[in-house]
């Protein structure tokens, strides 16, 4: 379980996370929503052990995230792979580090996402690059998958492929997926839990179905109401 205990992170005068206490349910798909600058990326980076909290604590399975890196798959918004690499070379690199790498899943997802091993990362489109990074993330049977804005700058067709690829190999109960995105409608039907973040604090957290029932609205509508200035 990913747990934040009174977690705060300050960057200069900006308080990116403000005393957050939350325990994300295990084995579920969780949507992490909020306006720009709300603290979503910092939240995910803290869960992945990529930022150090100013105060408080974040644990993954009761351990500091850095000790759980073998079980965490983190996909940031930007490209993380050397542009001179091909997809094959990147896969070779991942294989050497992660015991949860699944060769069959890698090849199946590659076919599904219409990618080829010989594609050079510097020469493919932004959408293909996003899919290539997603492929490498999903080819692992990681216990925790953290996706930061996987749809950012991606056309509608590629978004659909990415969403389908996410569901395709998801092992319910065994994997926890946290997706941070502005494109709530893309994953409205995918997420089981939702976390709304604003100004570094958790504004809403709960079971997606229960929230819909209580509010008699879609998640998108709840989000709009919670944040008048949101994108949708």
């Amino acid at each position: 379980m990913i747990r934040f205990e009174q977690a705060s992170k300050r960057f200069g005068s900006t308080l990116a996370l403000n005393n957050i206490t939350i325990a994300l349910p295990e084995g579920k798909i969780i949507g992490l929503f909020g306006p720009n600058g709300a603290g979503k990326s910092t939240f995910l980076k803290a869960a992945a052990g990529l930022v150090r909290l100013s105060s408080g604590e974040v644990t993954v399975n009761d351990k500091p995230p850095r000790q759980m890196r073998a079980h965490l798959a983190y996909l940031p918004e930007q490209n993380t792979l050397p542009p001179t690499w091909t997809i094959k070379r990147a896969a070779e690199f991942y294989r050497a580090f992660f015991a949860d790498w699944d060769e069959e899943r890698y090849h199946n997802q590659m076919d599904f996402l219409n990618l080829r091993e010989d594609m050079k990362l510097a020469q493919i489109s932004r959408g293909q690059l996003a899919k290539a990074q997603l492929l490498l993330t999903l080819a692992r049977r990681a216990r925790y998958i953290l996706l930061d804005e996987p749809f950012s700058g991606i056309d509608i067709m590629a978004r659909e492929e990415i969403t389908k690829a996410l569901i395709r190999d998801y092992s319910e109960g065994q994997q926890t997926i946290v997706i941070s995105t502005h494109e709530i409608d893309e994953i409205e039907n995918l997420v089981e839990y939702v976390v709304f973040i604003d100004s570094g604090q958790v504004a809403v957290f709960g079971d997606a179905d229960e929230l819909r029932r209580q509010e008699h609205k879609s998640i998108v509508a709840i989000m709009k109401e919670a944040f008048g200035h949101a994108n949708h």
């Binding site: 052990g49 940031p76 930007q78 792979l81 070379r89």
Partner: protein, 254 residues
């Protein structure tokens, strides 16, 4: 592929080599081009570029050392590194090894190509190969080879030290959000000063305390003291790499 530390190390080294090989090929291609132009096509105007061919192997790896670190941020691959289930030790050790490998290949390539062209086109018909062979196996030839090997090791140690100082100073620069370039530059100068002072002072002490000056005859290379010098270079390099890995493990964040 089994998950072993050896495989991880190999992949990291391969990644770093991927990042420096373009510079290496560029230096080798330049050496070949200049030598072909001068020796084969007799384009004398190109001759001053020999200075570049022979200096580049000492300067380009330092540029690569800066780039190896900087590109992790500019290309986003720092996210990849920080997500790996390893600490900073092997990451910076493989960066250092890639720089040393680049240095060795560039020196061997540039000097080797130049030597070969000079020998084939200017010396071969003037020197009797038997004389050259006899010289190599003479006492004087042995001393020259010994001096060359030790000089080479000093240069290799110096390159390792400079590269590790570049890594450490850039890591220190990453700890601040303002005046990053200035902090990096000043810490690099400070690390060089510290390394120079430590190496030279300790070697001087070593020579003063242990060397038998009476045995020094001018043509003989002072092997013991230069070996100690190389040892000091290696120890300081190890200390700088350890410090860089410590900062990576405990301070760096995105």
């Amino acid at each position: 592929m089994p998950i072993t530390k050896g495989n991880m190390f190999k992949q990291l080294l391969k990644k770093e080599w991927d990042m420096v090989k373009a510079e290496t090929y560029f230096v080798l291609a330049a050496a070949l081009t200049v030598n072909l132009a001068v020796a084969v096509f007799n384009i004398e105007q190109v001759a001053p570029l020999y200075a570049f061919v022979l200096m580049a192997p000492f300067l380009v790896p330092l540029y690569s050392a800066v780039q190896l670190f900087r590109r992790e941020w500019s290309e986003g691959s720092i996210y990849l590194l920080l997500s790996l289930p390893i600490n900073g030790g092997p990451i910076f050790l493989t960066k250092l090894l890639a720089i040393l490998l680049e240095f060795i290949v560039q020196v061997a390539g540039s000097f080797g190509i130049t030597f070969l062209f000079v020998y084939l086109f200017q010396v071969a018909d003037k020197v009797d190969p038997r004389w050259a062979l006899n010289f190599v196996f003479s006492e004087r030839g042995y001393l020259i080879i010994q001096a060359t090997v030790i000089s080479w090791l000093i240069l290799l140690g110096g390159m390792a030290l400079l590269a590790s100082a570049l890594f450490l100073s850039q890591s220190l620069g990453r700890l601040v959000s303002k005046y990053r370039g200035l902090v990096t530059f000043i810490s690099f100068l400070a690390l060089l000063w510290l390394a120079g002072k430590t190496t030279i002072v300790s070697t001087a002490n070593y020579v003063f305390n242990f060397a038998d000056f009476s045995s020094f005859s001018p043509p003989k290379w002072p092997v013991a003291s230069t070996s100690f010098f190389i040892l000091m270079e290696t120890l300081i390099t190890a200390a700088y790499i350890t410090a860089t890995a410590y900062i990576y493990n405990t301070k760096l964040e995105l």
